[in-house]
């Protein structure tokens, strides 16, 4: 349970730090009047959707750190046989990196108000993401050809399960991407897509980070 | 106001209930008096808190309840001193309970070096035990090796295992005043080995070996209960630990079979059995088809192990000795004719070769309702009533319905399965009590009557072969 405990410690520490900044030590009965709070003081008012996404990503992190914990605990039992990861994963990692870059660039284009930039960026993102998903499928196939089935050994089972889950999250992201892209293709102004594109950007960056953690995990075990 | 009075009354009532309660820990029979001490400390600390806080609550409600002339509430957001003081006192109280608790737990974790080891094996839904032989060592074992011939899955190539004593009954004997470490293993699902009088318990987990230890301090016979839900018959998974004096223990130990011996039992001979069966045939029929007029059940189709066990039970007086078991009383002297175990096994082997004969059906009932109820039965006896060696369950399908009804009544009324020597009968007795009325019994038997008997199975297999 080490991995999930590290994650929980971080999550709790961040929450407590945030609470501390929200003047959780103050004595509310002594203050009267329309007091300003941190939101107004700093002038930083993130859109609800963005903070909602952060909370959601905390949930997803919890899921992945639990899987990683389970992975380590299952690994310590004696029937664990490490599998040989397909070399294709290196390529897939590079493709996912391109996805992140493409969506990052799209967000910049949106902020600059470049309609064509947004359109091209979104299409590039979709292309690279599809490539990554196909690549992951090919990697699975490679494993199957090695004779590593879901049932054959826990390392393989975890590999399929965790990569599948990661891909499912990307597919979920693709749903938002699709809606945004359709809107853009229908001629929506770049300005109006900023929020959607930025949400996608944060989500893709996050999934890239998760993938890197998973990739290191698979390579090192 | 009444609520405050009621709170006071509930506090007083709880105290009275506590002291008047006849329900309290069973008398201790092990070295774990320290656990009882920890419980007592916890009880007094928490009891004091319970009384003080609740009485204060009641007093506050009485004193400050709203009246026509009551003063307004006091505006007092907090009182740092009081809160710190309360925190400190609470922390001290908690430490006073935790300290002794951890100290005793440390004793539990560390098994004394002089403890001897016993292998306790749980499975759905019975206990069995393996004791080290003369070398004092247990051989290695593996669930993958478990089978009808090797109950404990002992590694046959391990020299340490050859002299291990196999106790396949659910009764374990241990000598008094000698610390014992129980190694707990499960063949299938989670179980929990618990003896109330010893105070300690631990789960049995398939795939690993857990342990607990204690020193028995009182001679006696104590029940083992499974306390981790292990499936449908969980509540019938019971066993027994008998604490003996060293002499009694030695006698018992000498009677147990070693692993090597258990592997060398000569195979039963149905040819010899067929000669012995002559006597049986008078009542049960030459093909074991049974005879209603003589109250003799059908034997054909029943597995060998079941016939062996029942003959043994009749012979030892575990079955058929109850004064109300009129027909069982007829069988008991017949079983006594079989002079030894070999004779019993031979005749059983012969009966085991018989195939099932067609069945006359006389009982009718609500089949759909019976099917619902049979879900419980099927867990042990098999979905189609084929019986299961592993759960000690005989074949039901194709059995004569009048016989099953009589036996269900016997189980239910404590005529069968109540003798302490009958190891698995009590489980059926326990289960049979789910049948509250005669209708219940008729319905369930009506359903069993619809299950395919052995002949149907053979015919089905043959026709499949044709295609």
């Amino acid at each position: 349970m080490i991995a999930v405990l590290i994650f929980m410690t971080a999550a709790v520490a961040i929450s407590y730090w945030w609470l501390w900044n929200q003047k959780i030590m103050e004595e509310p009965w002594l203050t009267e009047g329309a007091e300003v709070d941190l939101r107004e003081q700093t002038g930083i008012v993130p859109k609800s959707a963005k903070s909602g996404l952060i909370v959601f990503l905390a949930v997803v992190s919890s899921i992945f750190s639990l899987f990683i914990s389970a992975y380590f605990m299952r690994m310590s039992l004696n029937d664990w046989l490490p599998i040989e990861e397909p070399q294709l994963l290196w390529g897939n990692t590079a493709v996912l990196l391109f996805c992140s870059m493409a969506i990052h660039w799209t967000a910049r284009a949106a902020n600059k108000g470049s309609n064509t930039g947004v359109r091209n960026g979104l299409l590039a993102t979709g292309l690279f993401t599809s490539l990554f998903l196909i690549g992951q499928l090919l990697a699975w196939q490679e494993l199957v050809e090695q004779g590593q089935y879901l049932q054959s050994n826990p390392a393989a089972a975890f590999f399929y399960l965790i990569t599948g889950l990661h891909a499912a999250h990307l597919l979920g992201g693709m749903w938002v991407w699709l809606k945004t892209t359709l809107r853009v293709l229908a001629g929506q102004n770049a300005q109006q897509t900023i929020l959607s594109v930025e949400l996608c950007r944060n989500y893709w960056h996050y999934l890239l980070a998760v993938w890197l953690v998973l990739f290191v995990l698979f390579l090192s075990t | 106001m009444p609520v405050a009075v009621v709170v006071i009354l509930l506090v007083i009532g709880s105290i009275i209930f506590h002291f008047a309660s006849p329900w309290w820990f069973t008398p201790l029979a092990s070295n774990w008096g320290t656990i009882d001490d920890t419980i007592n400390i916890t009880f007094w600390v928490t009891g004091a808190v319970f009384i003080i806080v609740n009485l204060f609550l009641a007093y506050a409600v009485i004193r400050f309840r709203h009246k026509k002339d009551s003063k307004p509430a006091k505006y007092e957001p907090e009182n740092k001193k009081l809160e710190i003081w309360l925190t400190v006192v609470t922390a001290i109280g908690v430490a006073a309970m935790l300290g002794p608790g951890l100290y005793v737990w440390n004793d539990f974790v560390h098994v004394p070096e002089e403890a001897w080891e016993v292998d306790v094996v749980g499975e759905q839904w019975r206990w069995s035990y393996r004791l080290p032989g003369e070398d004092g060592l247990l051989g290695t074992s593996d669930t993958r090796r478990v089978g009808p011939e090797n109950h404990f899955g002992v590694n046959p190539n391990d020299p340490n295992g050859q002299d291990d004593l196999m106790v396949t009954s659910n009764v374990l004997h241990i000598p008094i005043d000698k610390p014992v470490k129980l190694l707990l293993r499960s063949k299938d699902v989670l179980h929990d080995f618990a003896v109330a009088q010893f105070r300690v318990k631990m789960d049995l987990v398939p795939g690993l070996v857990s342990y607990l230890w204690f020193t028995p301090t009182k001679v006696g016979s104590y029940e083992v209960l499974c306390e981790e839900l292990c499936g449908l018959a969980h509540f019938t998974m019971r066993g027994r630990v008998v604490v003996d004096t060293q002499e009694d223990f030695d006698i018992w130990q000498a009677q147990q079979m070693t692993f090597a011996e258990s592997q060398q039992i000569p195979a039963a001979d149905p040819m010899i059995g067929s000669a012995l069966y002559g006597v049986c045939a008078t009542c049960h029929g030459s093909e074991g088809e049974g005879n209603l007029a003589l109250n003799s059940p059908k034997l054909g189709g029943q597995p060998e192990w079941y016939i062996t066990r029942q003959l043994h039970n009749f012979k030892e007086g575990y079955r058929g000795a109850h004064k109300d078991d009129l027909f069982g009383a007829q069988m008991a002297p017949m079983a006594a004719i079989l002079t030894d175990d070999a004779a019993i096994r031979n005749v059983s082997a012969y009966i085991g070769t018989m195939s099932q004969t067609p069945t006359d059906q006389s009982i009718t009932g609500d089949i759909a309702r019976g099917q619902d109820m049979y879900m419980t039965c099927g867990a042990c006896h098999g979905e189609s009533g084929q019986g299961n060696y592993a759960t000690n369950s005989p074949r039901l399908s194709g059995q004569e319905d009048w016989y099953m009804k009589r036996q269900l009544m016997n189980f239910k009324n404590g005529i069968r399965g109540a003798h302490p020597g009958d190891l698995y009968g009590p489980q059926m007795a326990s289960m049979s009590r789910m049948l509250r009325t005669e209708d219940d019994i008729n319905d369930i038997i009506a359903y069993i009557n619809t299950l395919p008997n052995q002949q149907d199975n053979q015919i089905a297999a043959m026709t499949q072969g044709d295609h």
Binding site: V12, L77, Q151 | V94, L208
Partner: protein, 581 residues
């Protein structure tokens, strides 16, 4: 001005017109709350009936042809799962959370109303899937609510085929529903508080629900992960949790997995789950006590710190459910220590509740009665928790009736008393009518005394060593006849308590139509939800302008004030409230 825009931003409320969009496909947090509440209570009634069936078997073992061993274990399982997840979690967060958060922080609605609606519909689907398992071959799973493998997916357990799969699917759908709701509750508290509503001015109800939601968002994934892995083991034949085992005499294909791994994952969710239910109850009861005692909550800051402290600690105590699970026994030292540490903030909360009553002006209304009863039962349940948390004391008591009595007292009776208190308390706001006082009193007394007489004796069965999850006890020598009779008495008490709930339903229904018209603020409560312009609040909650908050939620009996409470939106001076320019 900027500030109003902040809270009001993105609140493009679409006011529904047809009956269907107003009451069925509604995005109004209050309607969704009521949908959640009614569904949870309906499914809770099912679980209550199941428990009565179980009690009939335990109290009168040879009498009723109602229930067989397979059904008994199915009822045990469904009762537990429904009560913990589908009733309490859904009711506190989906019901009270949805209703109270926007009103208490001064928002027009949740920040993602559409997601909020989806949350309810997913919840309903999960309930339907769960209930459908009663109608499949083999029936619902009988694995116990903890669903421990290998047993949960092996033959020999009722419902080991369709039943367990439906249970896992239903849980997964529930978790999706909860996550959608939870994102809303958390983000609404973070983003949509009205002007002046600093965190330390929020009522404790919001603190409790907010913290519980955060716990749920982080902890439910553990249940999801274990459900997914168990489904893989069952359907696809992997061996995450399954070691090499035999199934009723047959060797299986499984190999090398660990049942203890499942237990770690399950309780990593399961223990925070206790607080997911308890923290909202803590928060709500604080508000009931303060309002009806006409006194500020004592030690507000300590209460907040205790809530968030308990929330953090709840992630490092899980293995106290596993002292006898066969895990490494050295873990016992760590988890016993953390568990007993958590007793300290919990005790502080109890002291502060009692000290809130001290020097108050206590109005013994029905909500107040429930709140006082909660303190009593919670003290009882909390103290017995110290027995079970102290690892060595747990040895003789675990898996006995002591455990049943403990957790029913602490997370069954206590939160349910709060639920009832809260429903009576907010009923006038939700419906615009008062409940019937006499029926409310009758309901209170029967419920309080009835539940105590069920669970107090049950602890003593546990001391005796009576194991839990037993269909029948005959033939166990150390269980005397008197214990069997005690079981019968407990069953009678349980039936009385179950029937008593009819009073509650009658009261609620009757008052809805015939109750006395309620004042907008009948209790003289200072918190924001009582200051809405309409009762019941309409869609959008507030008038043209959002309220501004000038003080904390507990200004009761302030010396020198005209009234015995000052509502949160009352400006500091007696002049008219500041305008937002």
């Amino acid at each position: 001005m900027a500030y109003v825009a902040l809270a009001d931003r993105e609140q493009e409320l679409s006011h529904p017109h047809s009956f269907l969009t107003k009451y069925i496909w509604s995005q109004d947090h209050k309607v969704i709350a009521i949908q959640y509440g009614l569904t949870a209570i309906a499914v809770g009634v099912v679980a209550l009936i199941l428990s009565v069936m179980m009690r009939l078997q335990l109290g009168f073992p040879d009498t009723f042809s109602l229930i067989h061993p397979s059904e008994y274990y199915q009822f045990v399982t469904m009762h537990g799962m429904i009560m913990v997840i589908y009733l309490l979690t859904a009711l506190f967060l989906g019901g009270f959370g949805n209703y109270l958060i926007p009103l208490m922080v001064g928002a027009r609605d949740m920040v993602f109303p559409y997601l909020n609606m989806l949350s309810y519909w997913f919840y309903l689907v999960s309930v339907i899937i769960l209930m459908s398992s009663f109608f499949v071959t083999g029936g619902p799973t009988g694995a116990g609510w903890t669903l421990y493998p290998p047993q949960a997916i092996m033959q020999g357990t009722p419902g080991a085929d369709a039943g367990i799969i439906l249970m896992l699917v239903s849980l997964a759908v529930f978790i999706i529903a909860f996550t959608m709701g939870g994102l809303n509750y958390v983000t609404t508290v973070l983003q949509a508080r009205t002007r002046g509503m600093t965190l330390m001015r929020m009522p404790l109800s919001v603190w409790g629900i907010f913290t519980a939601t955060v716990l749920g968002l982080l902890a439910f994934p553990a249940l999801l992960v274990s459900a997914i892995m168990m489904a893989f083991d069952k359907i696809l034949g992997t061996s995450f949790f399954m070691p090499a085992i035999i199934s009723l005499g047959e060797q299986t294909e499984y190999m090398g997995g660990s049942p203890v791994l499942f237990q770690h994952l399950f309780w990593f969710f399961g223990h925070p789950e206790v607080y997911i239910v308890a923290l909202p109850a803590f928060g709500i009861v604080s508000d009931l006590l303060s309002t009806h005692a006409r006194k500020n909550i004592f030690g507000y800051r300590m209460m907040v710190w205790a809530i968030v402290g308990i929330g953090g600690l709840s992630f490092i105590v899980w293995a106290h459910h596993m002292y006898v699970s066969g895990m490494n026994p050295y873990f016992g030292f760590f988890f016993a220590t953390t568990t007993l540490i958590i007793a300290v903030p919990t005790a502080i909360k109890v002291y502060n509740w009692v000290l809130t009553l001290w020097q108050g002006d206590i109005h013994l209304t029905v909500p107040m009665l429930f709140a006082i009863a909660f303190i009593f039962t919670f003290i009882h349940g909390g103290l017995t928790g110290i027995f079970l948390g102290n690892v060595v004391v747990d040895l003789p008591l675990s898996d006995t009736y002591f455990v049943i009595a403990h957790f029913h007292m602490v997370m069954g009776v206590s939160p349910i008393l709060v639920v009832f208190g809260a429903i009576y308390h907010w009923y006038p706001k939700m419906t615009g009518r008062m409940y019937n006082e006499r029926l409310g009193q009758a309901h209170f007394w029967m419920t309080f005394l009835g539940t105590y007489s069920i669970y107090l004796p049950m602890h003593y069965l546990g001391f005796l060593g009576v194991p839990r999850r037993y269909y029948a006890y005959e033939g166990i020598e150390f269980i005397p006849q008197s214990a069997i009779e005690l079981n019968a008495a407990i069953t009678i008490a349980a039936i009385i308590v179950a029937l008593t709930q009819i009073i509650f339903f009658v009261n609620m229904t009757w008052s809805l139509f015939k109750g006395k018209k309620a004042d907008p603020n009948p209790w003289g409560s200072a918190s924001l939800e009582w200051q809405t312009p309409d009762t019941p609040p309409i869609h959008g909650n507030w008038g043209p302008e959002l309220p501004t908050v000038y003080r904390w939620a507990y200004d009761y009996s302030v010396p020198g004030a005209d009234k015995d409470f000052i509502s949160q939106d009352t400006a500091p001076s007696d002049t008219a409230p500041e305008t937002n320019t």
